[in-house]
């Protein structure tokens, strides 16, 4: 007899996998973006199921609210909203499927063959207070330097995007 918690996990997993498969197989680009949106919302639900509410909130804000909107904008900017993508080559499909099935089978075999221990028994408590101490705490094992590097990376990426996507003036060409 399975409990309700496990059934919820299995239902969420099925939702994520089905919308993931539709993301990579649908031939309309705009529908692929919408299926990607559903996949990402399902993953946020998975984080809620694992009781990691901070990760779920970040997932919804950054992926659902940011990256999917960016992708939809770029579909419109490149006039691809109505197109049917051509069917992939049979050869490419066959070898892609072979590589994927071999990789997935091998990894799943490894996962099943291994015995996983059940942790050290302490409760998992990812409170925002602890996350703050992990990222910008004043202890030697906090991640202040990577945190600052990520902010520099984001600034560099932002400036880079503007420079790359900027229209060059006619007199420069």
């Amino acid at each position: 007899m399975m409990d309700a918690n496990l059934i919820a996990l299995l239902a969420l997993s099925a939702f994520i996998l089905i919308s993931g498969i539709l993301t990579v197989t649908t031939r309309r680009l705009f529908r692929a973006a919408i299926w990607l949106l559903f996949t990402l919302i399902g993953i946020a639900g998975l984080y809620f199921w694992m009781e990691v509410e901070f990760a779920a909130a970040v997932q919804i804000i950054v992926y659902v609210g940011g990256i999917v909107v960016l992708i939809i904008f770029s579909i419109f900017l490149t006039n691809q909203e109505g197109i049917h993508m051509p069917e992939a080559l049979g050869r490419r499909k066959l070898f892609g499927l072979l590589a994927v099935l071999a990789g997935a089978g091998l990894t799943c075999m490894q996962i099943i063959a291994r015995t996983w221990n059940n942790g050290d028994g302490s409760a998992y408590n990812p409170s925002v207070n602890k996350i703050g101490h992990l990222l910008v705490g004043n202890t030697p094992d906090s991640y202040v330097l990577p945190f600052e590097l990520v902010s520099i990376l984001l600034l560099a990426a932002m400036i880079g995007c503007i420079v790359i996507a900027m229209k060059s003036r006619p007199d420069e060409q």
């Binding site: 990579v24 993508m85 490419r92 942790g119």
Partner: protein, 104 residues
């Protein structure tokens, strides 16, 4: 016997990663390839948090790494889309086969 949640989560992230890989191998539209890439990055995040919660619940390092990965993925998607839009302006196409100006 019930399967453990960790096992289900690891299988889910494996399958999601390889679904993304299939999309990356078969798609030729650059935006569709970027979407497959996002699926692969997300499956890695699920893995980090599942390991953190079920194997080392005393620490929250896995969650910290997930936050870093999300930040870097956002930067990567923004740069990729800027490149795609610039490419579209030059070649009027976002098909990966048409981006061959460097090949000579």
């Amino acid at each position: 016997m019930n399967p453990s949640p960790l096992l289900i989560l690891l299988m889910l992230s494996t399958l999601l990663f390889f679904i993304g890989m299939y999309g990356f191998l078969t798609r030729r539209n650059m935006i569709a390839m970027l979407m497959s890439l996002e699926l692969m990055l997300n499956s890695v995040n699920i893995n980090f948090i599942a390991f953190n919660k079920y194997l080392w619940p005393g620490n929250i390092e896995g969650l910290g790494y997930t936050i870093f990965i999300i930040a870097i993925a956002a930067a990567e998607a923004a740069v990729a889309i800027a490149i795609i839009i610039n490419l579209f302006r030059n070649t009027r196409s976002i098909d990966a086969e048409d981006a061959s100006q460097l090949k000579n």
